[in-house]
């Protein structure tokens, strides 16, 4: 998956209909001759923490963004429904229920990644 943006990137997670705890942890990396360099700290968006959208200043170029979704059952249950977006474009969605066992902390994860191309401001 490739997403092209111009100017600053804004990452957002909409999980307002989820009774479970939902978190999206994004790690932004840029390719180098020897591998990948990580840009900044991981972005943590959730329905219990940081407010969406979260703007991130990125220099023009190519980035591979690794996203780790985590859903944790709590006392209100394990229902979840989320959308992960960059600059208003939904990239990943999911819904369901992680409460599948007697364990009160049923947890499920999903790991995804996508390419993010950042164009300089003013370039269409």
């Amino acid at each position: 998956m490739l997403k092209t943006i111009t100017g600053p990137a804004t990452f957002s997670l909409n999980a307002t209909d989820s009774s479970a705890f939902v978190e999206a942890r994004s790690v932004i990396k840029t390719p180098t001759e020897t591998g990948y360099d990580t840009v900044g700290e991981p972005l943590r968006l959730s329905n219990f923490g940081a407010q969406s959208p979260m703007p991130v200043a990125l220099a023009p170029g190519l980035y591979r963004v690794f996203v780790e979704f985590t859903v944790i059952e709590n006392q209100n249950g394990g229902r979840y429904d989320y959308r992960y977006a960059v600059n208003g474009t939904d990239l990943f969605t999911s819904h369901g229920d992680v409460n599948t066992s007697a364990d009160p902390h049923d947890t499920r994860v999903a790991q995804q990644d996508f390419l993010l191309v950042v164009k300089p401001a003013g370039q269409s």
Binding site: G35, Y36, I72, N76, F92, S94, G96
Partner: protein, 411 residues
């Protein structure tokens, strides 16, 4: 000697106390409880704040252990299977908290910002039925109840505390990202993808650096499947400790309002006698945690419970066929201190009726001790003065019982 043994010895000592006055003159309550629980700092002493429940099961005297929490239709079927072949004979107790099941789940975002959402999340509906023998006659009883509660200061709510701990996990058990097994499981995916994509990514990065951008078509959203794998298992294993640690920050004496309503019916188990109502009961309970007094906010809890009953049958007249009925108002005050496993309390009430209903058997004055056997299950000891069943005198009573606090109200 185990903690349980020590407390049982203490309970036995209290039972042998000749009177409440003698118990009040016991040498040093603080010293006794410290010895019983190995707690040396009174600040650490906590107590369960479960208010006088009027759940359907408790109306019928059915043990809380027998209550089947309903999360889906299967739970109802399992509960019904516990009945005898007579259909309405036998014990059945069901409770459902819709806001905490798939029936009408409360989104966490709403829970976090709305007191009404938290109130709904704590609302429990219950049904119970069971048999009882009164004056050598057998009766079948049914009861319904609804109850809810609200922690008055949002920051004292247990789910809010857990969410806030997950938000700022540094230095807590919730900081699972820093754990070796989580990091190792995470890298499996990332390293595989990096090895797979590096050559193409590097080539595209070089092209972009020279001003050659790929076509900017809008991607279609991908539906993600949440998985149970090594990473989820590593995280889940740590979240139990995370939640448990966060819950230790829940103040035992947090201020809370609870509302409960119950009603029931009774009829002879055989012979086709008339069905009688068990009256209606409304309970309003307010716990005050002394938030404004720093020296007391971790130590004491004041609980006021107002219990209003309408048309409650007088116990001694139930077997006569046409029971006498009485409405009553009962105000109970409790001052409690304790810890997460043991609590001491003094209780006072305005019980004074001449015709004794179930409600009016509450202690007029009492001292007590509660021991948490395990989460939600308490061993309760009370010694105090209550009205005699005959209604024309007081008597010294003692009570040793097991009680169950529904998790929807208390964690």
């Amino acid at each position: 000697m185990s903690r349980l043994s020590r407390v049982l010895c203490l309970a036995a000592a209290l039972l042998c106390a000749p009177s409440l006055r003698a118990a009040e003159q016991a040498p040093d309550w603080v010293q006794i409880f410290e010895e019983a629980s190995h707690v040396t700092d009174w600040k650490d002493l906590l107590a369960d704040t479960a208010s006088g429940s009027v759940s359907a099961a408790s109306l019928l005297g059915i043990s809380g252990e027998s209550v089947t929490p309903v999360e889906n239709l299967r739970d109802v079927v399992l509960g019904l299977q516990g009945l005898g072949s007579g259909g309405d004979r036998g014990t059945l107790a069901l409770s459902v908290t819709p806001g905490r099941t798939g029936i009408a789940p409360v989104p966490y975002a709403s829970y976090r910002r709305s007191a009404l959402a938290r109130l709904w999340a704590a609302t429990t509906f219950a049904y119970a039925q069971g048999d009882a023998d009164i004056e050598e006659k057998s009766f079948a009883r049914r009861a319904l109840s609804v109850e809810t509660s609200l922690v008055l200061h949002e920051g004292d709510d247990e789910l809010v505390i857990i969410g806030d701990t997950l938000k700022n996990p540094r230095g807590t058990e919730c900081d699972v990202d820093q754990l070796d097994d989580v990091q190792a499981a995470r890298k499996v995916y990332e390293q595989a993808r990096e090895a797979q994509q590096h050559e193409a990514d590097l080539a595209m990065a070089k092209a972009i650096a020279q001003g050659h951008y790929p076509p900017g078509t809008e991607p279609q959203p991908v539906t993600v499947v949440m998985q149970e794998n090594a990473l989820s298992q590593a995280k889940q294993a740590h979240y139990k400790a995370c939640f448990d640690q966060a819950l230790k920050r829940v103040r035992w004496n947090r201020s809370r309002l609870a509302l409960m309503y119950g009603t029931g019916w009774i009829k002879p188990a055989s012979g086709g006698g008339r069905q009688e109502g068990l009256g209606q009961t409304l309970v309003v309970s307010l716990n005050y945690g002394f938030e404004s007094l720093p020296s007391l906010r971790e130590r004491l809890g004041l609980m006021l419970t107002y219990r209003q009953t309408w048309a409650e049958p007088v116990l001694s007249s139930l077997a006569a066929g046409t029971p006498d009925r009485k409405s009553s108002a009962l105000l109970i005050g409790q001052l409690a201190g304790g810890n997460s496993r043991i609590r001491a309390l003094a209780q006072f009430s305005n019980a004074r009726s001449r015709d004794i209903t179930a409600s009016q058997r509450a202690f007029k004055e009492a001292a007590g001790l509660d021991l948490r056997v395990r989460e939600g299950l308490w061993l309760n000891l009370r010694v105090g003065r209550q009205r005699a069943v005959g209604g024309d005198s007081n008597e010294t009573g003692s009570l040793l019982s097991l009680s169950y606090s529904p998790s929807a109200l208390l964690k």
